[in-house]
Amino acid sequence: MKSQQKIVIFSIIGLILFFIISGAIYKNQKSNDVVAMVKEDSALLERDYSVSIGNKDAKVHLVEFFDPACVTCADFHPLVKDIMKKNEGNIRLTLRYAPYHSGSDYIVKILEASRKQGKFNETLEMIFKKQLEWEGFSGPNMKVIWPLLSQIGLNIDQLVKDMKDPKLDDLIAQDLADAKKVGATKTPSYYVNGKPLQQFGYEQLKELIYSEL
């Protein structure tokens, strides 16, 4: 009896260890693949149309794939801004869209249209700050968003017009295709100088950024 119990316990431990080790090897391998892929084709992380914030010649290039409807993205936005402020001029942030929630692509179009009016940052701040108010189960609640947009001082008629630009659909499709290629299946996904953030978390992100500074 005793030996049977030992066999069971050892096989449980063995199988779990095998799972953990092979998982770590797989993730590491995947991360190396992404680093190599990005080195070959840097456009995967930044297209010429992509939003870029901060000093052009900054030491650290941080790329974030985000979804305007994603709660964690909203939580992390001020944290990233804070890190950038503390290292003024040393970090450049590129924002890429990964609208995985239903209706999120509509918000992306609002952001891109607001960019034409020079109010991208204000709009993004508002979208994240008021996320709990406008986000519904089946998509964004536009009744809440429109008044907020005009409060910022956006010309709504122009905004609606710009949102109909078919180029925006191509832009979103391109961002989603790039996200898939570099493995940004969850949002937010971060890349620091082409290296993916392997273990998600604020401390881990900070560590990765500071290791490149």
């Binding site: 009896m1 049977q4 119990q5 066999i7 069971v8 096989s11 449980i12 199988l15 779990i16 095998f18 799972f19 092979s22 998982g23 797989y26 993730k27 493995g183 299946t185 969850k186």
Partner: protein, 144 residues
């Protein structure tokens, strides 16, 4: 008495193998979803719901060996096997996708892997449920 003990030992080994298969199925499916980031479809969830408890039922039934383990595990294996069969028929195109319950999210006809041209994730599930079913049948034949 002695032959009874030998018999018990053999059935224990069958049960142990059933446990190993269930555990590999559980960790394997977790590997696909948590490490390779494959999103499980609805049918995969039903099969998981029926496979994961088997691991724990078998562990309890092995330490020490308890004949009743058969009674408790059979419903999970039978229902899980039927789901796996249905999912495979869907993959082979024998049941049209329109007749499947998965319309939102990830369609159950999505093939994430295709090793050697025929081993898909639902196929692995079907193989696992089948092996466990055979092992349980062997235990039943010896125990009665």
């Amino acid at each position: 008495m002695v032959s009874d003990e030998i018999n018990n030992n053999k059935t224990w080994i069958f049960l142990f193998f059933a446990f190993v298969v269930a555990m590999i199925a559980m960790l394997g499916s977790l590997f696909f979803s948590e490490i390779m980031d494959f999103v499980p479809c609805t049918l995969c969830w039903y099969q998981r719901i029926l496979m994961y408890p088997l691991v724990f039922i078998f562990i309890v039934g092995m330490m020490p060996y308890d004949k009743k383990v058969l009674k408790y595990s059979t419903p999970f294996v039978v229902v899980g096997w039927v789901f796996a069969l249905y999912h495979n028929l869907l993959h082979f195109g024998l049941i049209p996708e329109s007749a499947s319950p998965c319309v939102q999210g990830i369609p159950c006809s999505t093939k994430y892997i295709e090793w050697f041209g025929f081993i898909t994730i639902p196929m692995l599930s079907f193989i696992a449920f089948s092996i466990i079913a055979v092992l349980l049948y062997l235990i039943k034949r010896r125990d009665v």
